[in-house]
């Protein structure tokens, strides 16, 4: 549970620091495009930032079908999972 919290905090920090989205608007349920104004250029920057932050690979399509901040957190957790299994 605490790991999940740490993960979501890091994802949310990227949204506020790298994309400059006001912190008070970013909640797990927030819709990226509709609530936070994330456009296609932001999505590329966000994906690059996520890849760097979590040392993961996100295909270009990975963030296309995601809708909310929670979706992103889930996608990052998935991308991390195989590496964790290998490591464990």
């Amino acid at each position: 549970m605490s790991q999940d919290n740490a993960l979501s905090t890091r994802v949310i920090t990227l949204l506020t620091e790298r994309l400059g989205i006001p912190a008070e608007t970013v909640t797990p349920a927030a819709h990226l495009a509709e609530d936070l104004g994330v456009d296609s250029v932001d999505a590329v920057e966000f994906a690059l930032a996520l890849e760097r932050e979590f040392s993961i690979e996100l295909p270009d399509a990975a963030l296309v079908e995601v809708k909310t901040v929670q979706d992103v957190i889930d996608r990052v957790a998935e991308a991390q999972a195989p590496a964790n299994e290998v490591g464990g």
Binding site: L19, G20, I21, P22, V44, E45
Partner: protein, 409 residues
């Protein structure tokens, strides 16, 4: 002919952000030149500049805009914010009668370098997608149009150190022709970077008076040894006069004339003829006789060539009257803001005419026989003037002159 009023002024300068502080320091004769703090300048022959110190864009702009743009756009957005507030103009979103014209010499050159560093280091992963729309030279004008809902004409002069002057002149024409009622016009540059210091240094254009930063920019003085790099932005809100009257807003002055000429001669060495024709053309455009001009805010870079050449050009246009008017270079205090210089100095000229105070040329100590005009040495002075001129010349042989008239409601 439609007349054009100046109804708003906004300045981001090495002497301060906001017009009141800028004007106070300018008339006090304060130098903004210091040792460069932005990067380690010790490998370079020039280690001084006039930086916008303690600049915190987050005090003025949402972080959302800051992360997507380079500093020259931050400067332009803040200057526009100040100017529109001064004009008491809150553009309704999507106004097609409001346009933007903002010049810059090189746009977001620092961001180009950062992006290229990322590419070299990490390949595609190192390339920020915000980079391209963050460094294009026209993006200062575009961001201002986006943020303030200005959907009229849009322009971005890139005529080097004349860009700010030309951008204001272009805006003037859009209003005169009826293409717009209001233009948000000016210039911006943020180029205190190693590459720019090295490139101008290679041309031997910069002062190397590193042991005396405050005394380094000394236009028209015999001991001048080059210009001092500055940075910043200025925006003028230009408005068709009846439009301004209908709003009942304050009018700082009237933009009466503009001319732009080319030397057609040499990449860096200016002629006497090109600047003289720009000045004469702007006077003719304004319908003002040379004898009516009380003040010239000179290009006055503090390079040996420019200041002597500009002095000769002024004498060619103004004849005996050259010795009766005040000619000052505010670059002695602000440094040379490149593509923003013409805009900051246009603002200074408007304020000089409005308040009847001529800002000085500081560091004027040793007269140069080739520069024998009244350069308002070292101290500002009161002078009730009707007309002021602002000159901006640039590499490539480009010359812009603007004529501002006092406005009595």
């Amino acid at each position: 002919m439609r007349r054009v009023a100046v109804t708003g002024l906004g300045v981001v300068s090495p002497l301060g952000i906001g017009v009141p502080g800028f004007w106070t320091e300018l008339t006090r004769g304060t130098s903004a030149v210091r040792r460069i703090s932005r990067f380690d300048a010790s490998p370079f022959p020039t280690q001084i500049a006039a930086e916008v110190r303690n600049f915190k864009p987050e005090d003025y702009l949402p972080r959302r805009d800051i992360v997507r743009t380079d500093t020259f756009i931050h400067f332009a957005l803040i200057a526009a914010l100040e100017a529109l507030r001064d004009a008491k103009l809150d553009p309704s979103p999507g106004d097609p009668r409001i346009g933007v014209s903002i010049g810059t010499s090189m746009g977001g050159l620092p961001l180009i370098f950062t992006t290229y560093d990322g590419l070299q280091r990490e390949g595609m992963r190192g390339v920020n997608p915000y980079a391209m729309p963050g460094f294009l030279p026209n993006m200062a004008a575009s961001w201002v149009s986006i943020r303030f809902g200005a959907r009229g004409p849009i322009a971005s002069a890139t005529t080097a150190c004349a860009a700010g002057g030309q951008a204001i002149g272009d805006a003037f024409r859009y209003i005169q022709r009826g293409d717009a009622d209001v233009m948000i016009a000016g210039g911006t540059d943020a180029l205190v970077t190693p590459f720019v210091v090295a490139s101008f240094g290679s041309l031997r254009a910069l002062s190397t008076r590193n042991d005396d930063p405050a005394g380094a920019s000394r236009p028209f003085d015999r001991e001048r040894d080059g210009f001092v790099l500055g940075e910043g932005a200025a925006i003028l809100v230009l408005e068709e006069l009846d439009h301004a009257r209908a709003r009942g807003c304050h009018v700082h002055g009237e933009l009466g004339g503009f001319a732009m000429t080319a030397d057609g001669h040499h990449p860096t060495a200016s002629t006497e003829d090109g600047p003289a024709r720009a000045m004469a053309g702007a006077l003719a455009d304004a319908g003002v006789a040379p004898g009516c001009v009380g003040y010239i805010n000179a290009h006055g870079t503090s390079t040996p060539h420019n200041d002597a050449n500009e002095t000769r050009a002024i004498k060619q246009v103004f004849g005996d009257h050259s010795y009766r008017l005040g000619v000052s270079s505010t670059k002695s205090m602000t440094g040379h803001l490149l593509g923003a210089a013409g805009a900051v100095e246009a603002a200074a000229t408007v304020l000089a005419v409005e308040h009847g105070v001529l800002p000085p040329t500081i560091n004027y100590q040793s007269p140069d026989p080739e520069c024998d005009l009244d350069y308002v040495p070292n101290r500002s002075r009161e002078a009730a003037i009707e007309v002021g001129m602002s000159n901006s010349f640039g590499f490539g042989g480009v010359n812009a002159s603007l004529v501002f008239r006092r406005f009595d409601a």
